[in-house]
Structures are given as C-alpha cells and as structure tokens.
Amino acid sequence: MNHQNTIAAIEKEIVAEFSLFDSWDDKYEYIIDLGKRLPPLELQHKIDENRVKGCQSAVWLVAEYRDGHIFYKADSDSVIVKGLISMLIRVLSGQSADDIIQANLDFIREIGMTTHLAQTRSNGLLAMVRQMKSFALAYKLKNAATT
C-alpha cells in the first residue's frame, strides 16, 4: 500500500547526502537551496492559527490526514528555516501517525544542525518538530475515538 520509504531510511539518505559536504558553508548553501525550492504555502494557510509558537522567524504549518497517512505543508519567512522544514517534510510527510510520533529524527544531530535544536528562543526547529508530532498525536486520538 505504502511505497514510501520508512522514516529511518529517509533519514539515512539525508545523512549520506550531508556527508558529501566538507564545510559549513556547503551545508548551509544546500539548506538554503532546499528552502528556496520549497513551494510557498497558499496565502489562506498563512494565518495565526497555523503559526508555530516559539519561533523567532515566522513558521506556518498545516497537516492533512489521507488514507492513514499524514501530509505536511509549511512555510517560513526565513529561508534557512524553510530548508530545515523541507527536510522534516521529506522525512515525515506521508508517514503514519504512529511512526511520526515515534520518530527520533536523529538525522538533525547527525548532519550537525544541533544549533537549531537548542533551547533558545531564536530556534524554531524544535517547536516545528513538536508541532508536527502533536498533529500526528491529535489524528491518532481522533481516529481512536471514531473507530
């Protein structure tokens, strides 16, 4: 049914891609490129309700539940955050709620982006991950209640 790779497999792919870069500039150039290529979120979704709290940069995130899988769309006014979002979407979008909830997302650390997970007010990635997981949890609970 689901032809999508597992979260762990996609994480592995990303780590392998990043292992090719030997400087921080190269890594960030790649992330910026990903950010630029992430399709912008439709204007009607860029509302306060969809804002991820705790980001210095504005981040909007929407989720959709289709055939047992969750699909994410997101945007940011920071192109680097957009690049990071793009990777999170690549890993998590289209996966099942259970897999998303359990995902460790170690790739973020492995590619050296730990700065973006620090508990500072300026870093939004952690808030993003939490929000993506809480969507998954919400869908799971909703599903359990209706079946």
Binding site: W24, Y28, I32, S57, S78, I80, T115, S122
Partner: protein
C-alpha cells in the same frame, strides 16, 4: 608596564587588551571568534576568572556571619566590591549600593517596594518607546495592580526620544519616570540629565536603566541627581548573576523591604521583626558571593584601562562600522541617533535577520538577531527584528572588516 602605560597615553592598545581575554583565542566553526554580541554580555578578562577561582580555592565562606578567618576574608572582599561600585558610579555613600541578581531584579525591587508603597490609583508612570522589556513589564504589573497609568514617550525615526512630547506627558500625576540611559536595540544615548531635571521640576522621581551605559559611559549618579540607577555586572566585563541597585539614601531608607529572610533582619521574634540597616535591609539570604567579589576585578580592569580610552576606542569602532555597513547593498541601519553607544542594528532587504545571524556564525562572527527584548520598538519601526553588532573594548577594526566580509558572503548565499 612602562610600554603599556606609554601606549595608554596615546590611546588604547587593543592588542594587549585582547590578551587579557582568554576566550578571544577560541575558534568557532573553525574560524577565529569575532565576538560582536557585547550588548548581550561582555567577555571576561582573566583577572575576573582568577578572582572567581581564587575565592572558591582559598577563602570560600559565607559573608557577614562567621567569626573565622575565611568568613572575614570573604566578607572583606565582598564589601570591597560595594566600595568599588560606589566609586564607579560616584555615589555619596556605600549604603546606597544594593546587590541584586541583575538590572531586571533591581527594577523589580523598586517596583515591588517603592512602587507598591507610593503609587496610587490615577497616578502615572512614564517610560519610553525604546525600553527593554525589563523596564516595561514591572511597571505594567504595578500599574495594573494600582489602577495607575503607564505613559510612553514616543521615539522619532532616528530612534531618539521626542523630548517635547516627554515634557507634555509630565504632569502632577506623574510619580515616576523610568527610562534607559542607552538603548540595547539601537544604541541611542538618552539625555538623562535633562530627563531627570524635568521630572524633578514636575515632582516625579526617576529610575535610569544603565544596563547598556555602565560599560561605555562615565556614570556619576550625583551629578545626574538620579533617584535610582540600575545596571548589571555581566555587561561590564564582570560575572553573571550580579546586579546593582543604586538609590538615594533617604529614598531607600523610606522604602519597605523586598525579600524577607536572613541578613535583612535586626531582630526576629514571632511577634515582630525589625529590619537591618542599609544596604543589608534589601539583601536577604546568602548573596552571590563569588560573582560579586569577582565583579571588583572587572571594575579594576575598567579603571586601569580608563573609561575615556574605552569610550574613544568604541566610538572609533562605531564610526568605522557605521560607514562600512552603509556601503553594503540593501542594508539599512535602524537607529541613527546623534549620540550612540557602540551598537549598530540593521536590516538587509529581503533577508531574514535570523538567516544573516546563522550564516555570520558560520564565519565565526557572533551577532545578535531578533527583537532584542524590545518588541514595542520593533513594531514602531515595522520590522520583526534586526541584526545587531555591539562593540566592546577588545574589538578591532579588523573584526569589523571581518563582519563586512561575512555580510557580503552571507548576502551572496541568501540571494
């Protein structure tokens, strides 16, 4: 020593100063650290680090209580910092120097004690549009509790307080004017003497937030005739966790106590407690002994370097940085006041401050990005935040060249 003194007469030998700050030798992302986030906190000279280690290694003891040798030595060193602070800000007496955790706690202390006693329904407190949240929120809380009103002095497009509007806000209802000496977000130096004189003429008291001025400007609380002056050690080359509240003696004496506990008492029975004299009345519990002691080493460092030398050097850096930044395409400096401390805030069109900050960090350059705890000011300029470079005594022209090169590279990557 002779060469150091000789060079000081000509100005300031920034390279020998840099040698006193061990952290400046470190690398970030493989590049030499360029630390331009001094308005957030300054780095510490070796003498400050040594003072901390020496206290814990040789005479760690609680202050003011013990009769043993260590307690005596710790108390002497602790109280020596109070004397050094008194001299640093030219206070009339050492009793006027209260140790707190930082500027924020100092402001809260005044709001909770003086404020609760003296602010009534219908009274007014004046702040400015450029204040740090620390000098907004405590007054908001107080005004809400007392049904008093918070009035805000507007700021012009250059980031300067509009003085005529301030004069218009002053009235017999005004009980307190609380404004910053220098802006952390824009660098603006406010005309505190005129602000204080006008407030006093109108019968209001004045609190000056010196968090961003104490390291840069000559501070004379008596000449200012200020009622309260607050600042933090960690922005003045000292350790974190130590703040200063200066208050005029008669005002502090009339103020109710803040925290209850040890040290601040004279005698305790279950029926009644009598309070200690100044300054101990406001220093409940075991204070931050090590950091307070080490703060004196920071003040000694400033005195030896010379505040005039520091100011001249930082003005040169500010002037150079401003000129260089203005030539970066798409860059706009936010805050162009005539009088500034060594802070430059800027935005670059179509680029997010956070992205610029991340990419500068990649080049080993530490700047601050965001709203700088001054959200109302950012709204005033219609921006979510800025990139801020702030300079200290150890920064160099070469580092500013590094910032400019880093910005060119950043712009190339982001566009």
């Amino acid at each position: 020593m002779i060469t150091a003194k000789a060079s000081l007469q000509k100005g300031l030998d920034v390279y020998s100063i840099r040698q006193q700050f061990p952290i400046l030798n470190r690398k970030v992302k493989g590049k030499p650290l360029v630390y331009l986030d001094n308005a957030a906190t300054t780095q510490k000279p070796q003498v400050v680090i040594d003072a901390l280690v020496n206290y814990y290694g040789n005479y760690n003891a609680n202050v003011h209580r013990g009769i043993h040798t260590l307690a005596e030595e710790a108390t002497q060193a602790f109280e020596a910092t109070r004397d050094a602070v008194q001299q640093f800000i030219h206070a009339a007496s050492r009793e006027e120097i209260i140790f707190t955790r930082g500027s924020t706690e100092s402001i809260n202390l005044v709001a909770y004690t003086w404020g609760r006693k003296n602010i009534q329904a219908g009274d007014e407190i004046i702040i400015s549009h450029m204040e740090h949240h620390s000098n907004i929120v405590p007054w908001q809380i107080l005004c809400e509790e007392k049904s008093a009103t918070l009035k805000v002095i507007p700021v012009n497009d250059a980031g300067e307080m509009i003085f005529e509007d301030y004069l218009k806000l002053l009235s017999p209802k005004t009980k307190l004017v609380a404004v910053m000496h220098a802006s952390n977000a824009l660098g603006t130096i406010n005309p505190v003497k005129q602000i204080i004189d006008a407030a006093h003429k109108s019968g209001a008291m004045v609190l000056i937030d010196g968090a961003q001025s104490a390291a840069h400007l000559y501070i004379d609380v008596r000449q200012m005739d200020v009622d309260f002056f607050v600042f933090s050690s960690h922005k003045v080359y000292g350790p974190t966790g130590v703040g200063i509240l200066y208050g005029k003696k008669n005002i502090l004496e009339a103020m109710p106590v803040f925290h209850g506990g040890g040290e601040m008492i004279k005698e305790v029975t279950f029926e009644k407690t009598t309070y200690n004299d100044l300054p101990y009345k406001f220093e409940a519990g075991t204070p931050n002994i090590a950091d307070t002691i080490a703060f004196k080493a920071a003040l000694d460092f400033i005195n030896e370097t010379g505040k005039d030398n520091i100011r001249r050097h930082e003005e040169e850096l500010l002037h150079y940085a401003t000129n260089q930044l203005q030539q970066v395409p798409g860059l706009k400096i936010i805050g162009t006041a005539k009088d500034k401390v060594s802070v430059v805030s800027f935005v670059i069109s179509k680029m997010h401050p956070q992205d610029i900050g991340i990419l500068l960090d990649n080049s080993g350059i530490a700047v601050r990005t965001g709203h700088h705890c001054a959200q109302p000011l950012m709204y005033r300029f219609g921006i979510p935040g800025t990139v801020r470079a702030s300079f200290a005594v150890y920064n160099t022209i070469e580092e500013i060249d590094g910032l400019i090169a880093g910005l060119h590279k950043t712009i190339k990557m982001l566009s």
